[in-house]
Symmetry: C3
């Protein structure tokens, strides 16, 4: 920063309408932008804010350029283009290759000389940390793990054991990868713990949100494929497989041995019952529940929007008396009413 619009257009493959020498120093929303700010217009929801924006330039589609009071960076996918420009303008702080003296690293662990191990980190036996990877304060990597290159494990993360990850992994604070799955055999004396002996394999370009948990496989590995994005407080049980580029938002839960296809999307608080298989390109709406295999791509739902409680209670009472209503209709059909 600052960067000229001409430079941004060149680097991010946009058509520039406006002054190539104008300087961008920040990004902002259309309504909060000021001089030197770059903004973006993606969907139609914010279109009305375009006319009055004080942004220096806006990333938008060609069709919206005529309505833009500022310079335009025209791109067919303005949101992704904006995301890339913002990442360029606000780069992740460079890491400082080092092992903090307060970190405790097992002698058998191998830490890349270009990695940074922050304060109060613990790295276990035989684990490997790749090039340019950052392990943040308070994090713990247990035994027999391989963390790929260019990863960022933020604070107080735990990678328990037998976890192998690809490159560019991001784990947000409090994430737990590789905890024992919930395997218990009932006996007359109570539950017997079933040893959880598999690992977790994570592909490239995976990001996992704060306090999410992903369990080890029971015998084989739990698998998170390339490009998967997982939000906060998500539960992924043992033996689950999540296909590439699937996105999972906050507080979703996946029971044991679930298999999810590619490019699926799960809205918040939705859940999938154990041993279910879901094909590619399935979207599940918030609070949805899947209890049977899904073999057709598409959008699925099973949630009820809230009503004022009096109206809801009436609806609930009618639902509970449906059997009675059906009887009344049957009587009418028989001419008994």
């Amino acid at each position: 920063m600052p960067v000229s619009l001409g430079e941004l257009a060149r680097q991010f493959d946009c058509k520039l309408l406006g002054d190539a020498e104008a300087q961008i120093v920040s990004v902002a929303s259309l309504s909060n932008a000021g001089p030197g700010s770059l903004s973006f217009l993606s969907g139609s929801a914010f279109k009305q804010q375009l006319a009055t924006t004080r942004a220096a330039a806006v990333v938008l589609r060609a069709a919206d350029a005529a309505d833009c009071p500022a310079a335009s960076l025209v791109h067919e996918d303005p949101y992704a283009c904006y995301a890339r420009i913002a990442a360029f303008l606000y780069p992740t702080p460079a890491i400082e290759p080092s092992i903090h003296p307060s970190a405790v690293v097992a002698p058998s662990a191998r830490i890349s000389p270009s990695a940074q191990i922050a304060a109060l980190v613990s790295i276990g036996d035989r684990s490997i940390v790749g090039d340019n990877t950052y392990i943040g304060p308070g994090s713990v990597v247990g035994a027999d793990c391989v963390i790929g290159n260019n990863g960022r494990l933020l604070t107080n993360v735990t990678v328990v054991r037998k976890v192998t990850t690809g490159d560019r992994l991001i784990l947000h604070p409090g994430v737990v990868i590789g905890s024992d799955g919930f395997g218990n055999a009932m006996t007359t004396d109570g539950w017997v713990k079933v040893p959880q002996l598999g690992g977790v394999r994570i592909g490239n370009d995976v990001e996992i949100g704060a306090n999410t948990t992903i369990d080890l496989g029971t015998l084989e590995d739990t698998v998170i494929d390339d490009g998967v994005r997982i939000d906060n407080l998500v539960h992924i049980a043992h033996n689950v497989k999540i296909g590439a580029h699937t996105a999972i938002t906050g507080q979703c839960g996946f029971s044991g041995s679930v298999v999810i296809g590619k490019r699926c999307m799960f809205a918040g608080q939705s859940g999938v019952a154990g041993h279910i298989t879901i094909c590619d390109d399935v979207v599940l709406y918030g609070k949805g529940l899947i209890t049977k295999d899904i073999t057709e791509p598409g959008i699925y739902s099973s949630s009820f929007p809230s009503e004022p409680v009096k109206e809801w209670n009436r609806m609930l009472a009618r639902f509970r008396r449906l059997g009675h209503l059906i009887e009344r209709v049957s009587k009418l059909e028989k001419g008994e009413s």
Copy 2:
């Protein structure tokens, strides 16, 4: 401790019925109280326990005093009055201003001389910790954070970056404040991460439960207003604004850009879809889902109580065949049946 009833009545603005010299040494429920215990009677649910309590004194409403076998501390809001007396009798342990030698504090951080930084804490660049604030073992405060006065951040808490808080903040163990929001732009090559550049602003007198997560704003700040109370395992996404004195119980989830009014209450496992605005004084029952703006205060619900599974399956089957029932009624109306 011990404290005389007369002293408690004076200090907490109660009318005392009983011996002002009697000494209180503990608090207890009505049914478990013994000599020297103070108890309370708030709602009607526990009224029947009053007659047999062995408490030395009970905080209660004037209307209940006649039925109290012990001394009465009469107050129009006995539960809040009890809470204040209990806090007086069982004060939070005083902090010991110090920085534990095992803590790792960035040279550019500013720690109040009256603050306590416990063992194995990490404090990042340019962050500020206020007067009389306690940061518990294993906690991490990242860069560019301001923690107000008289705060208590318990163990293994993470405050990631760009988080500013008011006074008297309580963060329970495992809380994560300031993690990246879930911002992703879909492209033909997969998801592109949208940089999360905002911060989190937290007002005064906020308490946040164990393992709850609150994300940074995308461009502007996520905001938690004064007096908000949040329970465990709650998910608050980027750009959310929670109005003053709103209470949120366990496992609720708030999607991105949700705006919640003042004095709302959310029961457990409820959720609000993205970009929804909810006015002041809304109550949502447990497992409720809000998918449209709410502009009228009141109680809302969308949950079904459980039934024995056979009965539930019958109800479910009827629900799924409602279209068939409607057809039957239509036929009857046309005289075709």
Copy 3:
């Protein structure tokens, strides 16, 4: 390892059909087993994989032995038997009695000489750690806690204060036990915090999953009885009592003062409203909600499986217009239609 089949049959009380000298070196699923592997067949779901397994031996019921192409270890409860054999073949690594030099242990704490306190652990005033118990990296045990014998507290666990546990406790990473309950009294000036003065009592043989939270009692203790198994991201509020051998899967929530019987099972994302009592031997299906006391053992449900969104929206619209349908039926009954 390796261990002979004869030895396994003897030690785990199985009838061996096959070569007693054959050596077992690993366990695997039926479909992935190879030479030297032990597998198991429990339910009927995997029966078809038995014929083609390359396992050296299979733990199974007598009725399945005739169909087994490998040696059979016959047991009436093959899953539990397999679990015990697997635990024998893959023992938890022995602990190394020690206190890591980076750990911070209060002078008044008492650590058994046979316990292991790992790197970067903090142990608070007056707490006790039992024989052969392991406290993993980054974990914090606060003041006035008693951790029994043979426990394993994995990484970044927090045991806050006043928590007493039995033997053989397993706490997975990120677990928080003993955080303040959500107790707040509303006043015209906002919420007043109600001091949480009880503790948590945990029985023997309890296992608790990653990032689960269990709150202190308000006045008396929160109680988790012997043999209880709790999965990840579960919320157990103050004053809850969970009966022996109850199993709770991921993301379930139990509101304040709930009392759960023995041998209950709660499937994922289910919840119980405050002050509810549930008898022994109750099963609640996934996403279920219990709002009234349950006094009869059995299976309960209140969840809706997902449908393609168009079909779901139709079903939802019919549900919302049930009142209208009832009116139509009433008119028909009155001969008005």
